[in-house]
Amino acid sequence: MLKIKLIIVKNLNDNSKKYCYPWSPFRDNWLKNKEERCIMQKSLKIDIYKNGYNASHINCIDIPIAGASGYYNYENYFYYCFYYSMFTNWTNIKNDHWLTLRNEILKKIGLTMVVNKIDDSSQLISSIKSHIDNMQPLILIAKYNSLFYSGSYLNIADKGSHGIIISGYDTERPLIIIRESVHIDNNLFSTVKVEALTKFQITDDLLLDIWNKTNISYKEENSLLYNTLYNIEKTGEPYIKNYKELVDDFLNNFDPNCSKLAEVVNSFNDCIDNMKSYGSIELLRRIFYGSITVLFEILGKAIQVEMLSEENQNRFNIFKDEYKKFRYFLLSKLHAQALRNKPLNITQKEGFLEEIHTKDNELIKLIKEFYC
């Protein structure tokens, strides 16, 4: 402690910038090497999106895709999250392949997600470097139990997948720069607020460990994700360039008759057993409640709620609260009915369907009124 104090005094008297911070006799070398360090890393600039979303809103594969799209334009992250919410709640798009929906969204912002098959793991690092050199962020969809920094590492019971952005590499040292969207404890995410897209670097070997362990699982599962790495690249000019165009597109394409929530209610009595598991209800809550938070937040941003009259601000906020409250209640009711082994009677079912339809129509009416 005494030694540190002496150094501080010396620094203050010295009045030289180079000693200001950190107060260390190694500061000279640190400064000398700082420039070299920057050159040593090829890293794509992606915001941390501290004001972004977590796994209670959008799943841990689509948040990284949104983040990677943000490399091309900061707002892409929000456009992607908005469309993800919209398309998972109301859509006719056939979800025959998991990439279909994602690429429909990315198409709106002039991007696409490309599949790279890497059958020889010794090619993984060179493939990553080649994409980064071409300024294309990558997405690796790993198994939780292959992530050494996850609580599920080597836990064979955890078969979930998790997306990671790969955004850079070190030219001198065997290091890969990754971005983590959320951390990674399913039991915690709903109670712990975590930062989005935290940046850190791991060695090539650790990345290969993730890759190899992940692909052992995917091979066993005969998964489409086996030996696959995705890159996000530009295909042309974005169709959506600002929030005005985003809302226009929403108003033109929103169809309350395509409600996925209504589909859930309609098929509830045939799927009661499926609705009992934690995983299923967590998924439904995320899609039909969590992502609605995203939708309202971005709509609010687009229509500039704060610029509306006080009366209209209140109307927007009250409607938002009622809309979310209804969905929260409906999902709780469905979950409780499933655990009680009680099907919905016809009156309950029709009541819920009508309420869903009414609320969706009110949503579109309100946005039209405030926006047009």
Partner: protein
């Protein structure tokens, strides 16, 4: 059934569902359920287990964990429900 018995049973149900908190010996009845790892999903599981245990059913509008911040509020609710159902018999 007295309040102590109700509380003991509800504690056992919560303990079974609380994934973050394993040792319940020092948990007071007014601790925030969110702080012991109860979320909106585990809350519904707890509700249905309570229903089965006490032969009651929560009203639709009460399927909301914001209305039940702690063990005490659940105990009071069950006490009211079981008391009312006895009176109506």
């Amino acid at each position: 059934m007295n309040m102590n018995n109700i509380e003991t049973k509800i504690r056992a149900i919560i303990e079974e569902n609380a994934e973050m908190q394993k040792d319940f010996s020092h948990i007071t009845s007014d601790i925030d359920l969110k702080n012991i790892g109860i979320n909106s999903i585990t809350f519904i599981k707890i509700v249905v287990s309570i229903e089965t245990e006490f032969g009651i059913e929560f009203e639709d509008e009460d399927l909301d964990y914001n209305k039940f911040p702690n063990i005490k509020s659940l105990v009071n609710y069950v006490e009211d429900k079981t008391h009312n159902s006895k009176e109506s018999k």
